[in-house]
């Protein structure tokens, strides 16, 4: 048994780490570190830097720009990005639409969309959830009726992350409402967000941030060539994507960075003249989350090792990474807020944007909102309750 990376893996990690150090722009690094909202330009700028390096889509087939990395290298890359604090790579194009097109798309679709996704020319979003569907995806109601060369789409999507930035959206729609099984009659369609009849309405989150939206479709005409795979086979496509495990679910790298930041930050906060790190009560909470993170990193590596050995993804156990990883993220954000004690109350200056007020400690004021924002992590991408159901059923056989 050996818990360390091999010399080759360490060399790869150092290469990635060194390159990130040199190529991550300072302003983006700062924005991420200080929990600032990233603009469309920020996201695309980083996407294009990676694309230029050839690292933006490691898991794609080489012919379309993939790196040919093995599962450990891909994991190392993801975690190093998290550890460096890069802006996120928005997954909707790179990790969701593209794999679907590669598996199910026509040659024409691939040629049309993949290079633009790779180069960050199109910003994609995902139209899955609907009001009332939530975890029960198959209950979706948005209707697409074929009329000649088009589908005419009516309905509503919700929780559409960054729809306000998006050029394209991929949607699950119901093309046959008569089918006996709810999973049948669902199709996978690609819409240009500029198509008439699409309205995006912001859903402001409890921290005041704008990340998600409602998207309304009112007689939206989608050309038939934007259908992926067969009509009525959208559920097959969706299931393929759900099974398309990512190894970075635990977000170990990002949490390690946050832990380091928390320690530095807490050390600077005083209680009775001493650092908060010397306060047993506070420190134990910090220690326990640190231990949990150490454990999760090893658990993740164990899964990787298994995966490399067997060639198979770890299956339902990957839900464990989601559950523990998000709990860790939430605890870290909570401890950041608790570290400042009463100073966590401020939120926004009354008469000026945060950045314009140099007498306002915008970072400290971001801690409570950040804590609030991180509550989403146990809800989105399959709530932690759903993840527990998955382990219960698939791993434990209950």
């Amino acid at each position: 048994m050996d818990l360390s990376y091999s010399p080759e893996e360490l060399a790869f990690r150092d290469e990635v780490r060194g390159w990130l150090k040199d190529n991550l722009p300072d302003d983006l690094r700062r924005k991420v570190a200080e929990y600032e909202e990233l603009s469309r330009d920020d996201l695309l700028r980083w996407h294009r830097i990676l694309a230029k390096k050839g690292w933006v889509a490691p898991s794609w087939p080489k012919e379309w720009g993939g790196t040919g990395w093995n599962v450990v290298q891909r994991y190392i890359f993801e975690e190093e990005c998290g550890y460096a604090g890069t802006p996120p790579l928005i997954p909707f194009g790179l990790s969701m639409c593209a794999p679907v097109l590669i598996k199910f798309g026509t040659e024409a679709q691939k040629k049309r969309f993949l290079p633009r996704i790779y180069n960050g020319e199109d910003f994609w979003c995902q139209g899955y959830s609907e009001p009332g569907s939530g975890s029960d995806l198959a209950s979706l109601k948005t209707k697409a009726v074929r009329q000649g060369d088009h589908y005419v789409v009516n309905g509503q999507k919700i929780w559409t992350t960054l729809a306000h930035y998006a050029d394209w959206i991929f949607c699950l729609v119901r093309t046959d409402s008569e089918s006996a099984k709810r999973q049948e009659g669902i199709s996978f369609l690609l819409f240009d967000m500029k198509t008439p009849g699409i309205t995006v309405r912001p859903l402001i989150l409890l921290d005041g941030g704008h990340e998600v939206n409602e998207v309304f479709f009112d007689d939206v005409k989608v050309p038939v060539e934007n259908l992926v795979f067969e009509e009525g086979k959208g559920w097959t496509v969706a299931k393929y994507l759900l099974g398309h495990e990512r190894m970075g679910t635990g977000r170990i790298g990002a949490s390690k960075r946050e832990l380091t930041k928390l320690k530095e930050f807490a050390a600077a906060q005083k209680k009775d003249g001493k650092s908060m790190l010397e306060d047993a009560r506070f420190r134990d909470k910090l220690s326990r989350v640190e231990v949990e993170l150490m454990a999760l990193e090893i658990t993740n590596l164990r899964f990787l090792d298994q995966m490399r050995r067997s060639g198979n993804p770890p299956g339902a156990d990957v839900s464990m990474l989601k559950i523990k990883g998000t709990e860790i993220q939430q605890t870290l954000s909570e401890l950041m807020m608790q570290a400042v004690g009463p100073l966590a109350q401020p939120f926004r200056p009354v008469d000026a944007p945060v950045a314009a007020r140099d007498d306002f400690d915008a970072f400290v004021a971001s801690l409570a909102p950040r804590y609030g924002n991180m509550r989403k992590t146990t809800i989105y991408a399959g709530s932690n309750e759903i993840q527990r159901n998955i382990i219960s059923k698939m791993t434990l056989g209950l």
């Binding site: 959830s129 009332g132 939530g134 975890s135 029960d136 209950s139 919700i158 929780w159 859903l203 402001i204 989150l205 409890l206 005041g208 998600v212 906060q269 005083k270 209680k271 009775d272 003249g273 306060d279 009560r281 506070f282 807020m337 608790q338 004690g341 009463p342 100073l343 966590a344 109350q345 401020p346 939120f347 926004r348 200056p349 009354v350 008469d351 007020r357 007498d359 306002f360 004021a365 409570a368 909102p369 804590y371 609030g372 509550r375 989403k376 146990t378 809800i379 989105y380 709530s383 932690n384 309750e385 527990r388």
Partner: protein, 372 residues
């Protein structure tokens, strides 16, 4: 043994609840929060008319001389309605002036407070004080028969709305004193902001602010006991407020569990969620018991240690409860709970702040243990 409100307390609570239902519902509150002032003059006037502002003011000064038990039902209703008006800082101020103010100060301030013509704010917390009430770096230097105050106060709740600030400043190595300072006095600068729980607060910079002899509140160097008593009183009040906000969050969550369907059935039929909802309910009941204790001891503890011990015990339970219920309410609401469109997300914000206000669980665990 009697856990009902008195007839008078109940009548007042009913009228506050009616006011909130009628004039301070979630939509009305949204507008108030978004307004320039961040609070409603109309609501404030109504509070005065209803007698809420006079409640903590002694009868001699046009008030009702109410204690924590009298304020409890009001605070609970305020918690349910997530009222953002600066009621708490006003009560804090009234308490200090009523206890320790000179007759002249009382006459000048208390009737005006009761009538809604004046607001106070307690400027005490500093950058390095955390929850330690004895930690004051702001100084008061004797000068020409008065004092010069210098220092910086942080997160002064209600500061931007207050007419007068009660400022703590060190007057010797042995202690600090309290001073009445006009918010607009030369040398006072208030940097205003919204708080995470949608109230108004500010950082207060004091740069050689000149106050005369009569500005001293209470005896010299005797500030700590005053502030401690007032903050314990206010802590009892936010415990009651928390009960209201928890009830609001629990009710909303229960309703959501009953109506929201997944896989064709209400999600409230899932046993894992049922048990978590039950735990939220039990926690709220246990927290209510401790809020009763806090209010009762704020009014009639046998001595300061008896009061401190009960208040800390209550705040430990309330802080833990705020955390559990706010987090679970959002989680059980799923995505909807994350949006500012549902009231529950605002209850989350207030509960998160109450958990820390006047000392988080760790602070009160330390104080509780020290009291034996």
């Amino acid at each position: 043994m009697d856990f009902e409100y008195s007839e008078e307390q109940q009548l007042l609570a009913d009228s506050v609840q009616r006011f909130i239902q009628k004039d301070y519902d979630f939509e009305a509150r949204k507008k108030i929060v978004a307004s320039d002032a961040g609070y409603s003059e109309d609501a404030w006037r109504t509070f005065a008319e209803m007698g809420l502002l006079g409640l903590p003011v002694p009868q001699d000064f046009g008030g009702f001389g109410g204690g924590a038990l009298d304020l409890m039902a009001v605070m609970e209703a305020f918690g349910d309605g997530l009222v953002v008006e600066p009621y708490l800082p006003t009560v804090l101020g009234a308490r200090i002036i009523a206890h320790a103010g000179a007759k002249a100060q009382q006459k000048a301030i208390l009737p005006a407070l009761a009538e809604g013509r004046m607001k106070l704010a307690l400027a005490h917390t500093e950058r390095n004080s955390r929850y330690d009430l004895a930690h004051v770096e702001t100084t008061a230097t004797p000068s020409e028969g008065g004092w010069l105050l210098s220092g910086e106060k942080r997160v002064v709740l209600g500061a931007p709305l207050a007419d007068k600030l009660i400022v703590s400043a060190a007057t010797s190595k042995r202690g600090f004193s309290l001073f009445l300072v006009d918010r607009t006095a030369p040398g006072v600068e208030v940097k205003a902001y919204r708080t995470f729980d949608e109230m108004r607060a500010g950082d207060v910079a004091l740069d050689n602010v000149r106050v005369d002899k009569k500005a001293l509140v209470g005896k010299k160097n005797a500030g700590l006991a005053l502030v401690e008593e007032a903050v314990d009183f206010a802590t009892a009040l936010i415990c009651a407020e928390a009960i209201g906000a928890m009830k609001s969050a629990n009710d909303a969550t229960l309703e959501y569990l009953k109506t929201r369907k997944q896989f064709g059935v209400p999600i409230g039929t899932f046993q894992a969620l049922q048990h978590r909802m039950v735990d939220m309910y039990i926690t709220a009941e246990q927290a209510r018991s401790m809020a009763c204790l806090a209010a009762s001891k704020a009014d009639s503890a046998s001595d300061a240690d008896d009061r401190r011990r009960a208040i800390s015990a209550a705040k430990i339970k309330i802080a833990d409860a705020c955390r559990q219920i706010s987090q679970e309410a959002i989680q059980l609401h799923g995505g909807m709970g994350m949006t500012e469109e549902l009231k529950v997300s605002h209850a989350f914000r207030r509960l998160t702040m109450i958990a820390q206000q006047f000392g988080d669980a760790d602070h009160h665990l330390e104080r509780f243990a020290a009291l034996g």
